[in-house]
């Protein structure tokens, strides 16, 4: 029986943000943290929908909670927010702390198949399966897991889009700020996939690339993407949102199904995210509260 340990709690916008830790089976028995915001209307008799936020490279479960400006609008809308970490911590694998864009803080939201990483680097299972199970099993956290949506930033935008498109309707909607949208074709993605996956890029194409996934998708989707034109990583070709947009249109999704907004002058920072935070909460509320 997995036990959730409460690390801290802060009242915020009349709700409560709580940090938990637990021993994660998906991450090979390592201790994993997450933050959970419950809006004030959540109660044993009122389960609330949940929106999962996946952070970007170098981040933890704290960045979105502290800097995202999500808690105010989520409180107003009556939506819980779940903030997982971005990678396992302390696996002790040689070299995992050398680079900021691979290893610790850079789990890339996949399940590793390379023998060196396969025991610990399983953020895909951690987020899609383990966290809902563990939180539900705690018995006293009033979330309605039939109403989940997912969003994220940069590497976390990649995670949100690919989890949304690769799971069978587990999430009602997905959105992303400056997502790594076509990682098989960018340096960050290529480095991650060749490092974490035994089958490398070819293995990634089938499940971990949002552009590849949308090009094969036929189901109804609800996707919102924002990126900034002054984003250094966009300009470097790490994000490639146009590739995702083109693949979506080629799959006959219109702008009410897949909306990609170019935001003039905005960069990759949480200042960009906070500017459009309430838009994203309201987008997901359409589906979480439908």
């Amino acid at each position: 029986m997995t036990t959730l340990e409460k690390v801290s709690a802060n009242k915020c916008f009349e709700g409560e943000l709580t940090k938990y830790k637990f021993k994660s089976a998906a991450l090979g028995g390592l201790s994993a943290n997450f933050n959970l915001f419950l809006p004030p209307n959540a109660s044993p008799s009122t389960k609330v929908p949940v929106l999962i936020y996946l952070a970007g490279l170098t981040c933890t479960e704290d960045n979105g909670a502290q800097k995202g400006s999500f808690l105010g609008p989520a409180s107003s809308q009556g939506i819980a927010l779940l903030f997982p970490d971005t990678s396992p911590r302390g696996a002790g694998i040689e070299g995992e702390d050398v680079d900021w864009d691979f290893g610790t803080g850079a789990g890339f939201y996949l399940n590793a198949t390379h023998p060196k990483y396969a025991s610990h680097y399983n953020m895909y299972t951690h987020i899609t399966l383990e966290l809902p199970q563990v939180i539900e099993a705690a018995g006293n956290i009033p979330i309605d897991w039939n109403r989940q949506s997912i969003f994220g930033h940069s590497m976390g935008g990649h995670g949100a889009l690919t989890m949304y498109l690769s799971t069978q309707k587990q999430y009602r909607s997905a959105s992303a700020f400056a997502p790594v949208s076509n990682p098989v074709n960018c340096p960050w993605g290529q480095k991650a996939f060749t490092g974490y996956l035994q089958g490398g890029i070819a293995e990634a194409k089938a499940i971990y690339d949002a552009t590849e996934l949308i090009s094969k998708s036929k189901d109804p989707v609800h996707i919102l993407v924002d990126f900034g034109t002054a984003d250094t990583f966009y300009k470097q070709g790490q994000l490639l949102p146009e590739n995702f947009l083109k693949a979506a249109r080629d799959s006959n999704y219109d702008e009410f199904q897949v909306r990609v907004r170019s935001q003039d002058g905005y960069d990759h920072s949480y200042f960009f995210i906070s500017t459009f935070a309430s838009d994203h909460i309201h987008f997901h509320a359409n589906f979480l509260k439908a």
Copy 2:
């Protein structure tokens, strides 16, 4: 001629947050940073009012800008936000980096008179005099310095209240989150005043204690204070907002002049601040835009 050097700029809520540095005369020639948010309506022909935010112990010019949730409401209201640092950096004084509540990150918004600190620890002059002069002298930053207000958190709440009450109508209004309200009677204040001031507590009473100042004040004032009942430092007696409130009422200020709100269950964190951030911006807008 002091030159402002632009360190970084981020578009945010249609305005821009810019970090500057310059060689500060008030701080003994050390390099000083500040962040400045200009709302989208600011332009060479439209100078905007400015609200100065003073952060708490251990903080820098970044904490309020990144975690305060102030930029959205300030953008909507057309108010600039100025975020100074909390102390000089790198003065090289023996022992200044030993404690978190004294020295670096803990300038206490005063002008030191103890010979050991007097050359550098002059945050009072830095904020009330130097920053307006240096920003005005830059010539291209459209702020109307006849419309200033000030607010802050914890040690910065102390700074905001004392600068408001000790200057001659330099600021139109003051507000504070969990301010150190009567520092001559709390451990943080006593440590700071006996360390920085040759005259110690007695010297501090005349100018650096909000409760002492309000008890002698006869002018009209516009003050808002919020504190949380779950605030550890409140419970430890570091904040003493009741002393400030009592002194204000004894000076015949009513709740439309000095309002002190006890917020049930909130703590000392930026989660507390962000919850009431828009209240404080709207409070100051009443006077800055009058």
